[in-house]
């Protein structure tokens, strides 16, 4: 535990230094000319430090109890259904969905609801097709399940690449968002320092506390976020006399586009495109069911029954939360838009907010509950990012160490201790990578990141997982060719699509005219996997088909599944 204490004291020293710096910044009277930097938001800073202190305490507790690989990757498989349901919510409800959907509603009205719905409907699919079977068949990663009866090397390599593409791009999105958010809320902390703080915290949580610490960080964050969003929504409804009719008619009156916000089937100002809508819907739904950090949560519960219950709890929390974000977005139209305290220049554009387009939810907290509540919600938004990034980092590290290192490179001939050791190195590596990429991408247009991560998850991870569990005929050749079709097909079409080709690369009109390629790539993956499997006449393919029976027994009954640590 000495290393933990050293790391902890180093971090505390850094925080103290930062506090001193902040105090100085606050004490020095602002030069008369431009009073550019607003005063330090002490409520936010203090609440954030409390959150960090509590989570570091939990990390210490978890580190004392993390001894085996099962402890490190899967929290000893001792998480209950309700705990995992909260942790799922904490893992999934990112700052992008909290601030992002509220902002989408704030600018576009009804259109935001399409995202709220799309981000929820993947959960029933996870329950019906994946959750229990994942728990019964897998050990630490979803590649365990995809490669259960197939050749370990090629299938795990493909699955690990799919996981890493999703994890690394998701990390970039989260890091950039976190840096911008923290810098906007506490301008005395620069963008770079914000990202370094996040990177350092994540490395400490995950290397020392593994999945136990990650799970509890996610549980606390979910409780804070659900509580905070409930309070904001209650504040909005109290202001509107608890009448939805009044809320929406006030919003229509206050928004510069008026009634158009109740009628937007696409972002306001763009033409709705049916194929794009359908492809977006497919991407959100199936992408959710293929996110490696989400799938990993099902290995932490005691058994298939707990896995099943945790999806029900998680779906309730997430559904409730998305309904709240919708109320919050409309509340922001009423209470934030046009308010000179938050708007850059109310005479020009009543929607244009100081600090950027992600701020409606945070300013709404200020409008409802004053500075203290603003600080609380800012700290919650930050906690949200930490919890999501922890889960992502652990999922990426497990793909590198458990899949690539232990099972592909070493062909299973490692000890658990070595594997965990490599995993911790990978956590540090991924943490540092996230910081570097986060800083590199500060000024980049990262709008394509959601499309990229969800498309790869929807077109590679999800279909291969479902085929391997349900279709006897899937062979190694089918899984690998299908999986790579999904990964490279989505990435390729995204590159030549409007967001990257036209807006990021400035190459002129896009070759592939849709932002979300899933409607083309997913069917292609299924066809490739099918054709490559049924035409596979090799002896190993016959063995793989024959191994479906025993796999199905384990997948359906849980006989032979990894047991909870307590039962050892």
């Amino acid at each position: 535990m000495r290393t933990f204490k050293t790391a902890l004291s180093a971090l505390l020293a850094a925080v103290a230094l930062l506090a001193v710096k902040l105090a100085c910044a606050a004490d020095v009277p602002a030069p008369a000319a431009p009073p550019a930097v607003p005063p330090v938001n002490w409520h936010a800073v203090v609440m954030f430090i409390i959150f960090v202190a509590i989570t570091l305490g939990i990390t210490y507790w978890a580190a004392m109890r993390t001894k085996t690989a099962t402890d490190f990757y899967a929290a000893g498989r001792g998480i209950t259904g309700l705990q995992n349901g909260l942790a799922i919510a904490g893992d999934y409800m990112s700052a992008a969905s909290f601030l992002g959907i509220a902002a989408l509603v704030y600018f576009n009205g009804f259109y935001g609801l399409i995202f709220s719905v799309g981000w929820l409907v993947g959960w029933p699919i996870i329950l019906f097709l994946i959750a229990e079977r994942l728990r019964n068949l897998g050990k630490f990663t979803y590649a365990d399940v995809a490669s259960f009866r197939l050749q370990q090397g090629p299938v795990r390599t493909m699955a690990a690449i799919g996981s890493l593409v999703v994890v690394i791009w998701y990390l970039i999105g989260q890091a950039v968002g976190a840096g911008q958010l923290l810098h906007t809320l506490v301008p005395q902390i620069s963008y770079k320092v914000s990202i370094v703080i996040i990177g350092a915290l994540i490395i400490i949580y995950v290397t020392f506390g593994g999945m136990k610490a990650t799970t509890w960080v996610q549980i606390i964050k979910a409780a804070l976020l659900l509580g905070g969003a409930t309070l904001i929504a209650l504040g909005v409804m109290a202001h509107e006399g608890f009448s939805f009719e009044k809320l929406f008619s006030d919003a229509v009156a206050d928004h510069p586009k008026h009634l158009a916000i109740m009628q937007s089937m696409a972002p306001i100002g763009t033409k709705p495109n049916p194929i794009e809508s359908i492809s977006l819907g497919m991407t959100l739904m199936f992408g959710t069911a293929g996110l490696p950090h989400i799938l990993m949560r099902f290995f932490t519960v005691t058994d298939a029954k707990a896995a099943r219950k945790s999806v029900l709890y998680g779906t309730c929390f997430i559904g409730y939360f998305y309904i709240l974000t919708f109320i919050i977005g409309f509340g922001a139209i009423v209470l934030v838009a046009g308010n000179p305290a938050y708007v850059v220049d109310a005479t020009k554009n009543v929607l244009d907010l100081k600090g950027g387009g992600n701020m409606p939810a945070v300013y709404l907290a200020d409008a409802i509950g004053g500075n203290l509540f603003f600080g609380f919600i800012a700290a919650v938004a930050f906690a949200t990012i930490l919890a999501v990034v922890s889960g992502l980092t652990l999922a990426g590290a497990s793909a590198l160490s458990h899949d690539l290192y232990a099972n592909v490179i070493m062909k299973g001939k490692t000890t658990e201790a070595q594997e965990v050791w490599v995993s911790k190195l990978c956590v540090i590596g991924l943490g540092v990578l996230a910081v570097i990429l986060g800083i590199m991408f500060e000024k980049q247009n990262v709008a394509y990141i959601v499309a990229l991560t969800f498309s790869v998850a929807a077109c590679s991870n999800f279909p291969i997982l479902v085929l391997s569990v349900f279709w006897r005929g899937l062979t190694t050749r089918g899984a690998v060719l299908g999986g790579y079709t999904g990964i490279f097909g989505s990435i390729g079409l995204l590159i030549i699509g409007p967001t990257v080709w036209t807006k990021v690369l400035n190459m002129g009109p896009a070759i592939f005219p849709y932002d979300f390629p899933t409607f083309v790539v997913l069917p292609a993956v299924l066809i490739v996997a099918y054709v490559a499997s049924v035409t596979d006449r090799s002896a190993s393919a016959d063995k793989e088909r024959a191994a479906f029976g025993p796999q199905e027994i384990r997948s359906e009954t849980g006989l032979g599944a990894e047991v909870a640590a307590a039962a050892h």
């Binding site: 097709l129 709705p272 559904g319």
Partner: protein, 103 residues
């Protein structure tokens, strides 16, 4: 899992009953969620005018709003149905199958 208990399970009609029942439930509910959700998405894509209709002549609330919230609630309800059925029917069946295999 020993070879013996595997072959016992493979030959147990209750096991095939379990797989069949669970597959029917899981895929029925999956298709239902797909129909509900893509029904909503197709309305967004092709029947925007219907979704824009106000719920009453005096209201600004479009009918798409309760429908969207309804899709969220329906997802939760279907999830609940699966968990209820699995707890009630599948778990006892699995226990029996495992007991009979380890006899």
């Amino acid at each position: 899992m020993s070879e013996l208990s595997a072959s016992r399970i493979q030959n147990n009609p209750k096991y095939h009953e379990l797989v069949k029942q669970r597959d029917v439930l899981a895929w029925t509910l999956t298709v239902l969620v797909l129909v509900i959700y893509f029904g909503f998405i197709l309305m967004v894509a092709f029947a925007g005018d219907f979704l824009r209709t106000p719920i009453s002549p005096t209201s600004v609330i479009p009918i798409g709003m309760p429908i969207g919230v309804g899709v969220i609630l329906a997802s939760i309800v279907l999830t609940g149905i699966y968990v209820y059925r699995a707890n009630q029917t599948f778990d006892p069946l699995i226990r029996e199958i495992i007991q009979e295999a380890s006899k």
